[in-house]
């Protein structure tokens, strides 16, 4: 089954490129530490999912590029062509002359309706290339205007037109301190709209990715391309092929569907985050060895102590004793905070994967009281190694990890809203204060729901 990616705005297009490049590179990596036959099956599975084939044999990303200004898309297209390994479809790009100017309302209410038909036609063409469509990745930043506003609009249209297909938005969560000044407004408008039209929001925090580049990858001067590569790696570690449950020699057909069924069935809990282990620079990798027990122990602690990377894990955090009441919102600002999970999915790739013991993740103390681990935990495996790591683990988690950033964004936006700052920029394009209030209401509810697990 295939996934069609819609890359929106500067951020979405830059990341989209890195994602396809990472997928291609990994699936064509000769030393997957498995048999040739298996490697080929892995490759075929990855290809069916993310690439279609052109006459001359060059894989074509199943993607639609959308931006409201031409610079980034043209750069992205040419970068892919120059790679010589894969490319974007000839007619898969839609761009305009003038961006959305960081204005969510402009993206959503002006660009959206104006270009609805062209964009949806492009998407439909891409969909028609698939034998079987599992769903969509919609890659977009939350802070800007095109990614966020137009992204929300497109997602809603996808929901209307492809109601049975799955929609996963790849949300780029802005730096806590400034990229765009109105990012908090744009964010709450985006999140609240996606909560209505998307099935899952896979959140990638710029701050966390940045730290990984600095601390784990040892990059001195970090560029957006570095950050996007880490993100692409994380995404690949989840969506590259894994064995399906029933027949271990078969690759999972519909990872998107399986993932969503396991992680986001409840309408109030749609926020997902990824954690990976190990992540390190090529140099350090040469001197490292890993055991499954070690990796999983770290990964588990990363989960419960809500740390985004292997370094600086707080080992003091423990699951609470059973029977204690949940702490509610008061606990939000305390330092030592246990990150309660709703549901988790662990993906293991590499040598001796069957010997990995996942018992640590099946501990009911990790999960909210209303779900048993049997309902809340899943694991996918393949012994095909991922990227350059002999063994690696990824965790997709629906947990309280985003509670604090979300609460902060809502709080900041609310402060701005109470001062009526910047509102005129939005009302100019047909939004009303009521729309803001609706968004606040919905997100306050989400915060409260995640708090009261």
């Amino acid at each position: 089954m295939s996934i069609v990616t819609v890359q929106l705005g500067q951020c979405g297009n830059q990341i989209g490129f890195e994602v396809f490049d990472a997928l291609y590179t990994d699936s064509h990596c000769p030393q997957g530490l498995c048999s040739k036959r298996e490697n080929e099956a892995y490759q075929a599975s990855c290809k069916e999912r993310f690439f279609s084939e052109e006459e001359n044999g060059v894989p074509v990303a199943r993607a639609v590029l959308v931006d409201m200004e031409p610079k980034v898309t043209s750069q992205t297209l040419s970068k892919a062509t120059q790679s010589g390994r894969w490319k974007y479809g000839q007619h898969s790009c839609f761009c305009q002359k003038q961006g959305s100017g960081n204005n969510w309302a402009y993206g959503y209410s002006v660009h959206g309706p104006r270009h609805e038909e062209s964009i949806m036609n492009l998407i439909q063409k891409e969909v028609e290339k698939c034998d079987s469509l599992s769903g969509f990745f919609i890659i977009m930043s939350m802070a800007g205007g095109t990614g966020s506003g137009l992204g929300a609009f497109v997602t809603q249209n996808l929901q209307d037109q492809y109601s049975n297909s799955l929609k996963m938005n790849q949300i780029i969560w802005p730096y806590g301190t400034g990229e765009v000044i109105v990012q908090n407004y744009n964010s709450i408008l985006t999140l609240s709209h996606l909560y209505r039209s998307s099935d899952a929001l896979l959140v990638h925090e710029n701050d966390a990715l940045h730290k990984i580049c600095a601390k784990l990858m040892n990059i001195k001067q970090i560029s957006f391309s570095d950050i996007n590569q880490v993100l692409a790696h994380q995404l690949g570690s989840v969506f590259q092929p894994t064995y399906s449950v029933e027949g271990s020699c078969h690759y999972r057909r519909n990872p998107l569907g399986d993932l969503m069924e396991n992680l986001v069935p409840h309408p109030e809990f749609k926020m997902l985050g990824i954690r990976n282990i190990p992540q390190m620079s090529e140099n350090s990798l040469a001197y490292s060895t890993f055991t499954w027990a070690g990796l999983l122990k770290h990964l588990r602690q990363m989960l419960i102590s809500n740390s985004k990377m292997e370094e600086g894990i707080d080992w003091q955090v423990r699951p609470p004793l059973p029977g204690l009441p949940t702490l509610g919102k008061a606990s939000l600002n305390r330092g030592l905070h246990f990150n309660m999970s709703i549901a988790n999915l662990v993906i293991l790739r590499g040598k001796d994967v069957h010997s990995a013991d996942l018992g640590g993740f099946k501990d009911s103390a990790l999960y909210t009281s209303w779900l048993e681990p049997i309902n809340a935990f899943n694991a996918w495996k393949t012994h095909r190694a991922f990227s350059k790591y002999e063994k690696s683990a990824a965790l997709v988690s629906n947990s309280q990890f985003l509670l604090k950033p979300l609460d902060t964004i809502v709080g900041k936006a609310w402060n701005m809203f109470a001062s009526k700052a910047y509102i005129h920029q939005y009302t100019k394009f047909g939004m009303e204060e009521e729309d803001f209030l609706d968004s606040f209401t919905l997100l306050e509810q989400v915060v409260a729901s995640y708090c009261n697990l």
């Binding site: 034998d131 079987s132 799955l166 569907g257 069924e261 409840h266 209303w370 209401t441």
Partner: protein, 421 residues
């Protein structure tokens, strides 16, 4: 049909009974040897296990794709358990069966009686044959009689331990929704693949009306070993069908024989009458229907009474001419309603086709020829969909009203509904 045996005088020949029993045993899936039947008449214990197993096969719903997956049969004890409860729910009258030991070691005569009861009650053999039919074509059932609600073979129940949080229900409901969507996606893919296979093999079928091969037929080439098995299954089904035809001719003699078996049984003492327990689910459903009917009744009364009153006021001094027209009207409506009444009582689906259909891809231009048209079915399904949506909508509205009413009990709160679709 050179195999047809010469027809003897009906049922009276000496060899008729063995022949009938042999035909029966051959028709039944994994039917025991005729010898077992004979021993069962004398209630011989060694015949019991085979008959328990037979009844289990007959009574347990089969997975649709019966041939590919024949799961290991459960332990005999479990089979006994299931047979008993299944017979109970279907209203099997004899108490003696219920009292048979659970280990399945006894009661071959009672089991023979139970089998006969099942055979006498309805078209059991026909059902079994239809269920295990070898599917050569790519089929699509026309109706949703089995719907999604019918369970496959029942797994051992893992009942919920205790009270759950309502969020747990929301979780399960959400999972179900995703399952639905994944199902649709898979099905769309299946249709796309079928379409391809059909058009690639266009003109390959010996049967002109079919034109192309089905998946199973194409698979013959892809997997010769599987093809051989398919052929074997087909041939064994043919044998069973032939046996079933023989059974039809000879069954009378079997029933006479069964009379003697029944005669050999002691009369069951007059006992405290018992009725099978109706599953709670059923009772719940009954109440729901009752409510719906009641609501409908009210609505009808609300609609009819003012119309009647208005009518009475109008017809005051009408002449005979109008009266005649009135009578004609009454008769026409009466006829229509009688049909409706019948439909309500017998549940006959109104002109809705049932059963499996073999999919055939045809040129859109080529008209005529036997068979249903997809377009017509689509139309019917669409209207059905609309009706069901309306039903669901009504139920949801009712809930909304009820909750709004209840919300009034807590002032000082703002209820912010999700924005309308």
């Amino acid at each position: 049909m050179g195999r047809r045996r010469p027809r003897g005088p009906r049922g009276d020949t000496v060899g008729a009974l063995p022949e009938a029993i042999a035909a029966l045993s051959q028709t039944l899936p994994a039917g025991p040897s005729p010898e077992i039947f004979r021993r069962a008449k004398f209630d011989r214990p060694e015949a019991a296990p085979a008959l328990w197993q037979l009844l289990f096969r007959v009574l347990s719903p089969l997975p649709r794709d019966g041939a590919s997956a024949s799961p290991a049969s459960p332990a005999l004890e479990a089979q006994v358990h299931l047979v008993k409860s299944a017979l109970r729910s279907q209203g099997y009258p004899r108490r003696a069966l219920a009292q048979l030991p659970e280990d399945g070691s006894q009661g071959s005569r009672e089991l023979l009686l139970a089998l006969a009861w099942l055979l006498a009650r309805g078209p059991l053999l026909e059902q079994l044959l239809a269920q295990t039919r070898v599917r050569l074509g790519d089929e699509i059932p026309l109706c949703e009689c089995e719907a999604l609600a019918s369970a496959g073979p029942l797994p051992p129940r893992r009942e919920a331990d205790g009270p759950v949080d309502i969020r747990h229900l929301q979780w399960l409901m959400g999972k179900l929704r995703f399952q639905w969507r994944n199902l649709i996606t898979s099905q769309q893919e299946q249709c796309a693949l079928l379409g391809k296979i059909h058009s690639y093999t266009q003109g390959c079928h010996s049967d002109r009306s079919l034109g192309h091969l089905s998946v199973a037929e194409t698979e013959l080439f892809r997997d010769p070993e599987g093809g051989r098995q398919l052929l074997q299954r087909l041939e064994s089904e043919n044998a069973r069908l032939e046996a079933a035809l023989v059974w039809r001719r000879q069954e009378l003699v079997f029933w006479k024989w069964m009379d003697t078996v029944l005669g050999a049984c002691p009369l069951e003492a007059s006992q405290p009458t018992f009725l099978p327990r109706i599953p709670t689910g059923g009772a719940g459903e009954l109440e729901l229907v009752a409510q719906e009917l009641q609501a409908l009744h009210e609505e009808l009364r609300g609609a009819a009474e003012p119309r009647r009153a208005a009518w009475e006021a109008r017809v005051g001094g009408w002449g005979p001419e109008q009266t005649a027209v009135q009578r004609a009207s009454r008769e026409a409506v009466g006829r229509e309603l009688a049909a409706l009444q019948r439909a309500c009582e017998q549940g006959e689906a109104l002109a809705q086709p049932h059963g499996p259909c073999r999919l055939v891809k045809t040129d859109a231009r080529a008209s005529g020829g036997p068979g249903l048209r997809a377009a017509e079915l689509i139309g019917a399904l669409r209207s059905r969909e609309t009706r069901l949506e309306a039903v669901l909508g009504r139920l949801q509205t009712r809930c909304r009203q009820e909750l709004t009413r209840l919300a009034g009990a807590r002032p000082g709160l703002l209820w912010i509904l999700p924005p309308g679709r």
